[in-house]
C-alpha cells in the first residue's frame, strides 16, 4: 500500500533534545556522534555565511560540539530547542573568537547572560515547542522582504550598513522592514509569559 510505504519512508527527525539529554546523563558517545553529524556541518555553513573562513568555521564548529558535550547538562529543553541552543553556543563562541582575535587584552566575560532563569513553569516543554512553532509560522508568514532583513541580521557584522549595501535598499527601509518584522514576531508571542 503506497500510504504505508510513504509512512515507512518518511524519516522522522531524531529527537535531538533527547540526544543531548543522553550525553548529559550517560555520556552517550553514540548520541553525541549523531548530534555531531547533524549539527557540526550546519554550524560550519552558518559561520561561513557569517563571514568566517573555512578554517575558522571548522574550528568554531568543533569547539561548539565540544561545548555541547561539556555543557549538555545545562541544556534545558524547556527553554530552547536543540537547534536554538546550539545556535546560541556557536554564536557566543564566535563572539569570543572575534574578541580574542581583535583584542587579546580583553576582560569581558564570556557569557553576558549565564544567570539562571527564575521562572519555572509546569508545562515549559510544551511552551518551548509551541513558541518555536509560532516563531517559525511568524517568519514564514512575513513578506519575503521582511524575512530577508531578519535573516541578514545573522550574517553580518555591521548590520545596518551591510544590510543596506548587500540588499541594495536604503537604510531607512532596512530599519522599517525590520521594525515591522519584529513587531510581528512580538505579536506572535504576545500571550507567552
Amino acid at each position: 500500500m503506497p500510504g504505508a510505504w510513504s509512512f515507512v519512508m518518511t524519516q522522522p527527525d531524531p529527537d535531538y533534545a533527547a540526544l543531548i539529554g543522553a550525553v548529559a546523563n550517560a555520556a552517550d558517545r553514540a548520541a553525541f556522534g549523531a548530534l555531531f553529524r547533524h549539527f557540526a556541518p550546519r554550524v560550519k555553513t552558518f559561520l561561513m555565511r557569517a563571514g568566517a573562513s573555512a578554517a575558522m568555521a571548522e574550528e568554531i564548529a568543533q569547539e561548539t560540539m565540544l561545548t555541547v558535550w561539556r555543557k549538555a547538562a545545562q541544556f534545558d529543553p524547556a527553554k530552547a530547542s536543540a537547534a536554538t541552543w546550539i545556535f546560541t553556543v556557536a554564536r557566543n563562541l564566535r563572539i569570543d573568537m572575534l574578541r580574542r582575535e581583535r583584542h587579546p587584552d580583553t576582560l569581558l566575560p564570556d557569557d553576558l547572560e549565564d544567570r539562571a532563569d527564575e521562572a519555572p513553569l509546569a508545562d515549559r516543554l510544551i511552551i518551548v515547542a509551541e513558541r518555536d512553532d509560532r516563531v517559525r509560522v511568524a517568519m514564514a508568514s512575513l513578506p519575503p522582504e521582511q524575512a530577508e532583513v531578519v535573516r541578514a541580521a545573522f550574517f553580518h557584522d555591521k548590520p545596518h550598513a551591510e544590510i543596506e549595501r548587500l540588499l541594495n535598499i536604503p537604510l531607512g527601509t532596512v530599519k522599517s522592514r525590520l521594525r515591522l518584522a519584529m513587531t510581528k514576531l512580538r505579536a506572535a508571542l504576545e500571550d507567552f509569559s
Binding site: 558517545r29 555553513t45 558535550w69 566575560p109 547572560e113 518555536d132 516563531v135 517568519m139
Partner: protein
C-alpha cells in the same frame, strides 16, 4: 517601569550575535531588567535555531569527530574566577573597568577594559549637571543604572536604554536629586557622545 527600549535593529543584531560587544553589554544591562525585550531576544534566537537547521551541510574535516573525542579525554581548562565589581547589577558586575576619571565638575567616567576600538564605560554625573552640547555620529547606546537624565525632553530612568544613531546633537542633563550612573558604548571614537566630551576634557 522601563519606558525606553533598544530598537528592533539593535535587539535583533544583539540576539543574532552581530552587534559589537561593548554595545551588546549595554543591551544586556537593559535586558536584565526588561522581560519584554528578553522575550523578543528569545524569539530571534529561535529564528537562529531554525536558520541553523535549514543550512545546507558543509563537510567537516575527516578527523573532526575523532579530534573532538580526543579532546573530551582531556580535562577542560579550569574556569578563571572573575572578581565581582561591587555595586553594579549583572552583567556589569563581572566586567573590569579602569579606575574612575574625573572629567569636569560633578562628572566622572570609568572606561570598560577591552572595548577595543569602541569607547565604552560607566558614566556618573551629579544632579543638575548638564553635558556640553555635542554633535554625534554613529550608534551610541546608554542604559541608566541609577538616577535619571533628560535628553531633548525625554526622561531616562533606571533600566531605560537611550539609543542614538546617526547625526544628532544632544545635551543630556541629569535631573532629580541623586547622582545618575549609566553604562554607555559608542561606535565612533572621535567627536562622539559623552566620550567626545571626555576626550576633549582629558586632552586625549
Amino acid at each position: 517601569m522601563i519606558q525606553h527600549h533598544p530598537s528592533s535593529v539593535v535587539l535583533a543584531s544583539y540576539a543574532a550575535g552581530s552587534l559589537p560587544e561593548p554595545l551588546g553589554l549595554v543591551v544586556a544591562t537593559h535586558l536584565y531588567g526588561c522581560a519584554a525585550c528578553q522575550r523578543l531576544k528569545t524569539s530571534v534566537e529561535a529564528v537562529g535555531g531554525s536558520e541553523l537547521e535549514a543550512m545546507p551541510p558543509t563537510a567537516m574535516a575527516d578527523d573532526a569527530l575523532a579530534a573532538v573525542f580526543a579532546r573530551l579525554e582531556r580535562p577542560a581548562a579550569p574556569l578563571v574566577p572573575f572578581e565581582r565589581t561591587p555595586g553594579l547589577p549583572p552583567p556589569l558586575d563581572r566586567c573590569r573597568f579602569d579606575p574612575w576619571r574625573r572629567i569636569g565638575i560633578g562628572l566622572r567616567w570609568r572606561p570598560l577594559l577591552g572595548s577595543g576600538t569602541m569607547v565604552a564605560g560607566l558614566l556618573e554625573g551629579m544632579p543638575g549637571r548638564a553635558l556640553p552640547t555635542h554633535a554625534h555620529r554613529g550608534l551610541e547606546l546608554t542604559c541608566v543604572i541609577a538616577g535619571s537624565f533628560v535628553d531633548a525632553g525625554t526622561r531616562f530612568a533606571p533600566g531605560d536604554l537611550a539609543e542614538i544613531d546617526g547625526d544628532h546633537a544632544h545635551r543630556p542633563t541629569i535631573d532629580g536629586d541623586t547622582p545618575c550612573l549609566c553604562v554607555f558604548a559608542t561606535e565612533s571614537v572621535r567627536l562622539s557622545g559623552w566620550l567626545g566630551v571626555a576626550q576633549r576634557l582629558l586632552g586625549e
